[in-house]
């Protein structure tokens, strides 16, 4: 397939033709050449055929991600077509963040976002800036277990500045003895802040844990005017 006789056109030329890119040759010349050169013809047919693949991609699953600066540091978000699947300020780098996503979505293209996630970025920054108290962003929790979804669903109903205990959440989902499991599920909340797991605290008045780092839980509660819950 490679290194055959034809040197008139590179793969890049044929690709330019297929993608409609500006190129250093005339379309008609290439078409004439294709008529005579089986090798280039084969390449052109194959590249053209790839347009079917473009359709399959355009209509299928994709994960988009976006990174931006927030008061919490470099912050990264990712979303499926159905909603946010990840919010993280813990990843040390873009690559680390991507590697984790790739691990989770092996068969799905993960691509950088152009403008579909700007609303999510804007809303988060407004929240940090105390100009927003609720998010209007869909989340996609379909990869989680039914129990996790129930826990996060109950947690999502807590409004700005409103807190509940792990026991409260356990009762709300009809599993009154599962407070510890609730804590674990919240610890694996992939979309912190949006699903406000920082609003769930211990019955004894202490804050409990926070996967994103306890200092961030404190900062979030402070943003929401709940200094009363903080000891420091």
């Amino acid at each position: 397939m490679t290194a055959a006789c034809c040197t008139s056109y590179e793969d890049e030329d044929v690709l330019a033709w297929v993608l409609g890119d500006p190129a250093g040759f005339d379309d008609g010349e290439l078409a004439r050449h294709l008529a005579e050169c089986p090798e280039c013809l084969g390449r052109a047919s194959e590249y053209r055929a790839m347009e079917t693949g473009a359709v399959a991609c355009r209509d299928g699953a994709v994960i988009r991600w976006r990174g931006f600066e927030s008061p919490f540091g470099p912050t990264r978000i990712a979303a499926s077509r159905d909603g946010l699947v990840e919010l993280s300020w813990r990843a040390p780098s873009d690559d680390a963040f991507l590697a984790e996503l790739e691990q989770r979505y092996r068969e799905t293209p993960i691509v950088c976002d152009c403008d579909e996630l700007t609303a999510a970025e804007d809303q988060l920054l407004e929240y940090f800036d105390r100009r927003r108290t609720a998010f209007e962003l869909p989340v996609d929790l379909s990869r989680l277990t039914r129990f996790q979804r129930a826990v996060l669903g109950a947690t999502a109903s807590l409004g700005f500045g409103q807190v509940a205990t792990y026991n409260d959440i356990a009762r709300r989902i009809g599993r009154p003895k599962a407070a510890r499991a609730v804590g674990n599920a919240l610890g694996r909340n992939p979309v912190a802040i949006i699903v406000p797991c920082h609003r769930v605290v211990r019955s004894d008045g202490s804050l409990g844990g926070y996967t994103g780092g306890l200092e961030f839980k404190e900062r979030l509660l402070r943003i929401e005017g709940r200094r009363d819950l903080l000891t420091t």
Binding site: G28, A49, M50, T52, G53, A56, C114
Partner: protein, 180 residues
């Protein structure tokens, strides 16, 4: 109630509605408008003869594109035409891009579509981003470069590298799916 044995295939109205764009599409592939017109003419005959199962109205266009494209690729693959036949007509090449092929190949099976996506998913990060933005979303290289923090030239190189990698694998899927 009248029962008439009329032609159930309104070829004339299709020809009017889809003819010009199909000719442009095939011309773009073949480089000659005349052959394209032949292929599209044949299409109406085929449509009358085979009465394919095109489902609801929107699929008619899809079916027409699919058959036309398959014919055009057959021609591309088999012809050993003299260069001068083409050279006389290169001026007729449609300058615009062919219509988006989504109309043409809605028929890629679910399995094949999943394979395509997993191939794209497996590309190195930069190539994947560039290929996606150019090939799938049709963004221009300035936009892509800005997004990726590179230059338009680099963005283009990334697209082409990724497309080269995908070529063989997707061609195989194409042959299996559309060449049947």
């Amino acid at each position: 109630m009248t029962t008439t044995f009329q032609t159930t295939v309104p070829v004339e109205s299709w020809s009017e509605e889809y003819g010009p764009e199909l000719v442009r599409h095939v011309t773009r592939m073949l480089g000659t408008a005349e052959e394209a017109q032949d292929i599209v003419q044949d299409l109406w005959v085929t449509a009358l003869r085979v009465e394919p199962d095109w489902g609801d109205g929107s699929n008619i266009r899809a079916w027409l594109y699919r058959v036309a494209t398959r014919r055009a690729l057959d021609v591309l693959a088999s012809r050993k035409r003299r260069a001068h036949l083409l050279s006389a007509r290169s001026g007729e090449l449609a300058p615009d891009r062919p219509p988006a092929p989504d109309a043409a190949f809605g028929a890629l099976s679910r399995e094949a579509a999943a394979q395509v996506r997993s191939r794209v998913a497996a590309l190195p990060c930069k190539q994947r981003d560039a290929v996606w933005l150019r090939w799938i979303e049709g963004k221009d290289y300035e936009t892509i470069a800005e997004r990726l923090g590179s230059t338009p030239e680099t963005a283009r190189a990334n697209v082409y590298q990724g497309m080269k990698k995908l070529r063989g694998e997707l061609a195989e899927i194409w042959n299996r799916e559309v060449g049947r």
